[in-house]
Symmetry: C2
Subunit: 225 residues, 2 copies
DNA sequence: CAAACAAATGACTGATAGTCAGAAAGTGAC
DNA sequence: GTCACTTTCTGACTATCAGTCATTTGTTTG
């Protein structure tokens, strides 16, 4: 009998329903301004039920974060599956573009990422399945970059004097910095400097790609531009 | 009569006294776990008094953030005043090192920076003198980088095909990414990947510098390494 | 010294995260 | 169909804490 299965499925559906409601509320008002009562109402459930599915408010927000991070990874994955004839350095560029596009299209998920990274109650996080999954996604994302770099070192478009793992982390981190800034610019007040200087996000990203591109290119690749 | 002056001075002292207490409490327990009552007790004042000096809890934390950002800028400033015989690219390296060292020595201030950047209630921030000052500091920090780049373009250590302003923002942002990651590694749970891969923060930073160094170097500078 | 002003207090209020005893719904055996 | 049992859900309740404000305490000045 598939009762067990069905139960599990229904539990999943409830979970999704709650996350959906939470997203709707939190994405529109921000985490602080959102109440569990409000989310419960949106989900057409009582507050108590929310706590049957999520340990607390943070955990619920982490579920949203996890959803975002999985969406992002799915896009990274697509870069590899849908584009076979690219050089390593092109793949790196594509990954960067994918990231930036994601942040532009989903500023709220990125905000969730930022919140997640600002948490530091280690014990809380260690226990959370969602946080675990976020870490797993991060690991996977890094592997995409490592793969791209290795491809580049094979096809001669990436300087192989770097350790691919170390370089991957560097690229990942610095890209994260760029996306953070471009996110903040969208969100207002922050980084008025960019407006003062009249620097559009695109120019920022292009310069970053030029910098990274030049920085990791092989001698030959640099010359042939 | 210097009564007015003395009053102003005393007001400043109270302010400082409150920020000191807030720092002590918040740095030890984290923002969420800290209460205004607790801070008031530490400051040997009543809660009401806190609100005479700071509009709300966030504003008080912003004051701490501002303090941190000023400390950081003071260090940047020192790079320029205490080291005259450096090339542009060396200055860039020194600024990066200064930043990273600051984050290592003051993870709590950096955490405050991260919190600040996660805020997005624009109206709140626009009104805050502390947020304004943080933005001013950011502007100043960027100017240090721009100056270093211009020096480098003059002395031939930095590729002058970049726009110095744009490049400065790129360097600032990506460095921010690196420091964020190195901060997170210190704080635990986050970025276990780094441990798995056995990548120390120093290696990360060295690679980043190599990347940026190569990326912005002039043809000649690259050859002469 | 007393009136006027300024600074500080802490009891109070409102909001809300999180709990829990009990209601409602579902399940399955007879 | 109904009864005993399990699972899911509910919403009133509690504890906590940010922020307020009427009152008190301290200071200045004519």
């Amino acid at each position: 009998m598939g009762t067990e299965e069905r139960k599990a499925r229904e539990k999943e559906r409830r979970r999704k329903q709650i996350i959906d409601a939470a997203e709707k509320i939190i994405f529109s008002k921000g985490l602080e301004q959102s109440t569990m009562d409000g989310i419960a109402e949106e989900a057409e459930l009582s507050k108590g039920t929310l706590y049957l599915y999520f340990k607390n408010k943070t955990e619920l927000y982490l579920a949203i974060t996890e959803r975002g991070s999985s969406m992002l990874n799915a896009r990274f994955s697509k870069v590899f599956t849908s584009a076979h004839d690219h050089t390593g350095i092109e793949l790196i560029r594509l990954i960067g573009e994918t990231y930036l596009t994601f942040v532009r299209e989903n500023p709220n998920y990125f905000k969730a990422f930022m919140y997640y990274e600002s948490l530091s109650d280690v014990k809380e996080l260690e226990k959370s399945e969602f946080a675990q999954s976020c870490e797993e996604n991060r690991r996977e994302a890094l592997n995409f970059i490592i793969r791209a770099l290795q491809i580049g070192m094979q096809d001669g478009t990436v300087d192989d004097s770097y350790d691919p793992k170390e370089l991957a982390v560097v690229i990942w981190s610095s890209t994260r910095g760029i996306t953070t800034v471009s996110h903040m610019k969208g969100v207002g007040h922050h980084f008025e400097v960019l407006d003062d200087m009249e620097i559009p996000v695109d120019a920022l990203f292009e310069n970053f790609l030029k910098l990274v591109g030049t920085g990791i290119a092989t001698e030959e690749a640099r010359k042939s531009r």
